[in-house]
Structure formats: C-alpha cells, structure tokens
Symmetry: C2
C-alpha cells in the first residue's frame, strides 16, 4: 500500500481516507445474563432480518461511529434497547474477527457480557427478545458464531464465580446472604458450604448491612445486604473448590 509522503501530520490527515483500503465490519455482541426462577438465563433475540433471518441470536449491533463515543457505549446502547437497563455489570469478554462469521464480509465483533437483576423484557420494535434458560439457549443453534460466544461467556462466568462477587449483580439488592449464596450455587451447579461462604464475605468486608431484614416463610428473618460499590470488582485471593 504505497502512500505519498507528507510533510506535516495535518497534511497527512487531510489526504487520508479510510476508503483507500477495505476494512472489516465492526460490531458489538452482548451476552445479557440474569437469574430468574432458580435458573441462569440469557437474552436471545429472534432475528427479524437477513442474514440468519428467524434464527435466535445474542443481542448485538453495528458500531455507530456517529452516535457511539466508544465500544462500551455501543454495548450499553444495545443493552438499554433490549432491557431498559443502563447501569449493568458490563465486562469485555473477547473480540473475534474473521471472514467466516458473517456472510456480509470480514467482521470484527467485540463481545461483552452484562449481568443484571431480572426484569421483564419490553417488546420493542420488530425483533422478539426472550430470556432463555442457559441449557435451552445452548441448543437453539444460535446465529453467526453466537453459540461459541455464549459458551465462552459461560466459561468466563463459571471461572469468575469461584473468586469474585459477580453473582451479586444478577439479583436485586438488597439481598440476604442465603439469596446471594443461592445465586453462586446456580451458576456453579453445585452446593457450597454456608460457613465458608459467609466467612469470606465477612473477612473482606465487601457487603453493607442495610439494617433491614426479610423473612422467608417461617423461620428467623435474614439480614439484608448490598454490595459495596467500591467492591464491585473485588477478587478473593483464594478460590472456592471447583467441585
């Protein structure tokens, strides 16, 4: 790709056009997770248009370089459109770029995952979106490479659950310690020791007691807590047993 030589940067930029070279499509896909009725769910969208019309897919969209200040803004726009939620836990998972994932051409997608407390989905626009149980979603033959992206997101979440506080982002606050532990157990797929679980939280002082309590049927009321905002990204140094 030979280029003329320019004396100043301004000179160079004035002559520069991105259309001199073909460039990839740029998109963002978001695995939006929540917990509902004792199951981990992911938001799936029924595609209303080509390509892969009428197949289920993850939430996603092209980067709008006029409207989106940055990649995260694209992710938040996609998320807000589908769920109405504007302050999720949002983490970049991976970026995939190749010529085979999208029939429209060489495509580069930044994949994020978002964790939110359950909300009923507003059905906006022509695309139908739905919370799908994870085990179901993995059998839906999702569009593009979304099956693999979802699998990667699950792998990441199941790794992080062992040493982070991410499940706190999947349930409404305030929550009881039992509710929080239950969120961990649903993601992990097995039960953990109540005492170990509480000891870690206590030792690291990552929760705030609201002073309120909540009663589950009969039995002693449980204290309610919130996650300290400054501890949202806290990582324990030692992991829980991986079964």
């Amino acid at each position: 790709m030979p280029q003329p030589t320019h004396t100043t940067e301004a000179d160079f930029l004035a002559a520069y056009s991105i259309h001199d070279y073909p460039i990839p499509l740029a998109s963002v896909d978001v695995c939006i997770f929540t917990l509902h009725e004792d199951h981990l769910k992911v938001l799936c969208v029924k595609r209303s248009d080509h390509p892969h019309k009428d197949r289920w897919a993850l939430a996603g969209g092209f980067v709008d370089i006029r409207g989106d200040d940055n990649l995260e803004a694209t992710a938040l726009r996609v998320l807000a459109k589908k769920t109405g939620i504007t302050t999720p836990y949002l983490e970049q998972l991976v970026t995939i770029g190749n010529n085979s994932r999208d029939p429209r051409g060489w495509s580069m997608t930044a994949v994020y995952f978002a964790l939110i407390p359950y909300v009923a989905l507003p059905q906006t626009g022509s695309e139908q979106s739905q919370w799908q149980d994870i085990t179901i979603a993995l059998t839906l033959n999702l569009a593009f490479d979304h099956q693999q992206l979802l699998a990667m997101a699950l792998t990441r979440i199941r790794a992080k659950v062992l040493y982070s506080l991410i499940p706190a982002n999947l349930i409404p606050a305030p929550f009881t310690l039992t509710e929080l532990q239950h969120a961990y157990e649903i993601i992990m797929g097995y039960e953990i020791e109540k005492k170990s679980f509480r000891r870690r939280l206590e030792r690291e002082q990552v929760l705030t007691a609201t002073g309120q309590s909540k009663q589950e049927g009969a039995g002693r009321p449980a204290a309610l807590y919130t996650l300290k905002p400054e501890c949202a990204l806290f990582n324990f140094k030692r992991q829980l047993d991986s079964e």
Copy 2:
C-alpha cells in the same frame, strides 16, 4: 438506517454494501515482551510516518482483510515482521474503540500481548524497533493510547504471574528451576520462596525434565526442564503471595 426488504438471504447479501454506513478503522496492537539481562522489556517501534511521526509506539498494524484470516493472524503477522518469531505465547488483552485514539478517525484496535524468549531484533524496513526496559518504556510518551495499553498489559501479566506459568514463555528452553524462578521474580518485582515455588511445579507435574543439566559457575549442576505443551495455559488454583 432504512433498508429495503429482501426475500432471501442471497438476495439480501447481493444488495449489501459495507460502504452504506461509515465504519471504524480496524487495527491490532501487540505488546511484545521478553526478558533480557534481568529486565522485562517491551518492543517499541519508532514511527516513520504520520500520525505521531518519530514517536515511539507499540507494534501494530491495520487488519488486512485480504491477507489475514482472522485477528490473531494479524497479530502474528505484526509479531513475525518485527521479531521473526512465529510461535509465541499470544493472548488477547482488550479491545479499545473510540473516536479519540487515532486522528485518522473512529478506531477499533484489538490489543494482544506476546511473550517470547529474547531475540536480537532484525532491523527490517524503515521503522526502527528496539527492546525497551519496561521502566523506560513507561516514560517514552508512546504514540496513540499505547501508554495505557502497555500499562494494561503489565497489569495483566503481573496478575497472571501469581497463578500461571507465563514466565516460562519469556526464557529460552530448556531452563533450570532457578532460571524460571528468576523470571517470575523479575516480573513480580520481589523475591519468592524457592521451596514453595518448586513444590507447586512438582505437585502439578507441569514440567518435563530433559535429563540434561547445566552448571552455573561453581556449584551443583541444575537439572534442565521444559514446559509441557499441554500445560502452557495451566493455572494454579492458589496464588503466590502478592507481597
């Protein structure tokens, strides 16, 4: 962005042009690390052209959608061009996309870091590349947002050194346990206990003894090992103390 409706996917794709919408520039940047003379070094390139002409930068380049099968191929191409190395440890770090990082326009870059044993740099082409000591590199006022990218790469590596085998990728194989431990210590910035270090390696059986040994001046010869290929991505469950 209104679009006509198409009956079939083939119909849709035939009418599709990526130039209907403006899209970001797509690039890959690579923090190439090595260990040399008891220091962690990063490969820096003196930019021979605008923008940021004559400033130091990380290795990087635009995605070539005709030549690169995928993003990793772009990273490997950049790496091979600068170092001649084709089989590095290569890990995706983060992807940054915004309108401010590159004066040429909205730019999306997938950032990788590569870990390689030291090699003298072939000086190919017009751009001068050099191994820079990390502490120096952080003061070079790198081009674009490369200062931040380098800082992120360092953060990632210093986190992973506590529970992974990544330092083994920075030294030539085979290596002695003392050499490997030294690689860890350079990255960590403090010394660790020989016994703990060796115990972990022994317990997890992640190294292969070559049967050879190597003598460092006077003193007992040290056994030589290589990293088992299938353990390249092994993670210890517990971390070393973070000082």
